[in-house]
């Protein structure tokens, strides 16, 4: 398969994730859609790594996975903290950054 096909799939996944981030209201689903965007970027990185035949893109994809794991960790911690304070779990309602 040509590398271009993989790049097209990565672009589609990234855009689906972007639409989800823009339209969904539940912060859990927003986090899932952020994962989709990161995965689209990962697929492009690995396709370029294969294209050039060196491993730099794969290392960068692993680092992206690490950052995604950290983001999930912090994001889910925030959602649990929001839930404990009995605030609405809805990104439209959470407009204020007061403690």
């Amino acid at each position: 398969m040509s590398i271009a096909w993989y790049l097209a799939v990565s672009a589609i996944v990234f855009c689906v994730g972007a639409v989800g981030v823009m339209t969904r209201r539940n912060p859990l689903v927003v986090l899932l859609c952020l994962e989709l965007m990161l995965n689209g970027a990962n697929l492009a990185l690995i396709a370029f790594s294969r294209m050039w035949g060196n491993g730099d893109g794969q290392i960068l994809a692993l680092v992206v996975m690490t950052v995604a794991a950290c983001e999930v960790c912090i994001g889910l911690g925030m959602i649990v903290a929001i839930y404990r304070r009995h605030l609405p779990i809805d990104v439209d309602e959470l407009r204020e950054l007061q403690g």
Binding site: S2, L43, A47, M65, R84, D90
Partner: protein, 210 residues
């Protein structure tokens, strides 16, 4: 053969992604993301990056998704979908949704032009040559050698980032209040380590200090 596998995996990837966005219940969104990640691992295997595919399945589809499932079960998806249902598909909400979809479509067109319209020769090719073997491109030995030699700094920075995220998650999700003041007697102070064992206890009062 590889093109058949590619199309099956690509359909799985894209339908999983659309499922994450379209499904109403967050629990089903998580399951769709698991399907998406497994199909993506197949694409990574087709691109000869075995180690990244294994990490994707084990770490992402295994560990991270378990975290998501726990939080969805704890928080419950009801509140989000309930408020969406109460508000209903009002004109403002549907307009925003349409705007988001249009923006996403424009982004897709732009990305496709940028990625496929560049005219680079190598993009339309099969990629660099590949030869098998235990130290070939994409094997754990290859990735490990790169991580511990050329990308050692990135490796260490990633480990620090994970440590900071773990501490931050514990700080964010700890229980605040609700249990009354803490019991003073059970609290350890640094002085407890300095004084001899058993001082200040009932046993000392009757002269039988351990």
């Amino acid at each position: 053969m590889s093109s058949v596998v590619f199309f099956i995996a690509a359909i799985g990837v894209i339908s999983g992604a659309i499922g994450v966005v379209m499904l109403r219940d967050p629990f089903y969104s998580v399951l769709a993301l698991v399907a998406h990640l497994l199909s993506l691992a197949v694409l990574f295997l087709l691109l000869r990056s075995e180690f990244v595919a294994a990490v994707q399945v084990v770490v992402y589809a295994g560990a991270v998704m378990v975290l998501y499932v726990f939080v969805v079960a704890y928080v419950g998806g009801e509140s989000g979908s309930l408020s969406e249902r109460l508000r209903g598909p009002g004109p403002v909400g549907s307009g925003l949704r349409l705007g988001g979809a249009i923006l996403g479509g424009a982004l897709l067109v732009e990305l496709l032009i940028a990625l496929l319209g560049t005219g680079l020769e190598a993009i339309n090719g099969q990629g660099a040559g590949y030869s098998g073997g235990p130290h070939a491109f994409g094997t754990p030995a290859y990735i490990g050698k790169l991580l511990l030699t050329r990308f050692l700094l990135a490796f260490e920075v990633a480990s620090f980032l994970l440590l900071i995220a773990a501490v931050g998650a514990v700080v964010l999700a700890r229980r605040r209040g609700g249990l009354g003041e803490e019991d003073e007697a059970d609290r350890m102070t640094p002085l407890d380590l300095l004084r001899p064992q058993g001082t200040g206890t009932m046993a000392e009062g009757v002269g039988r200090r351990p």
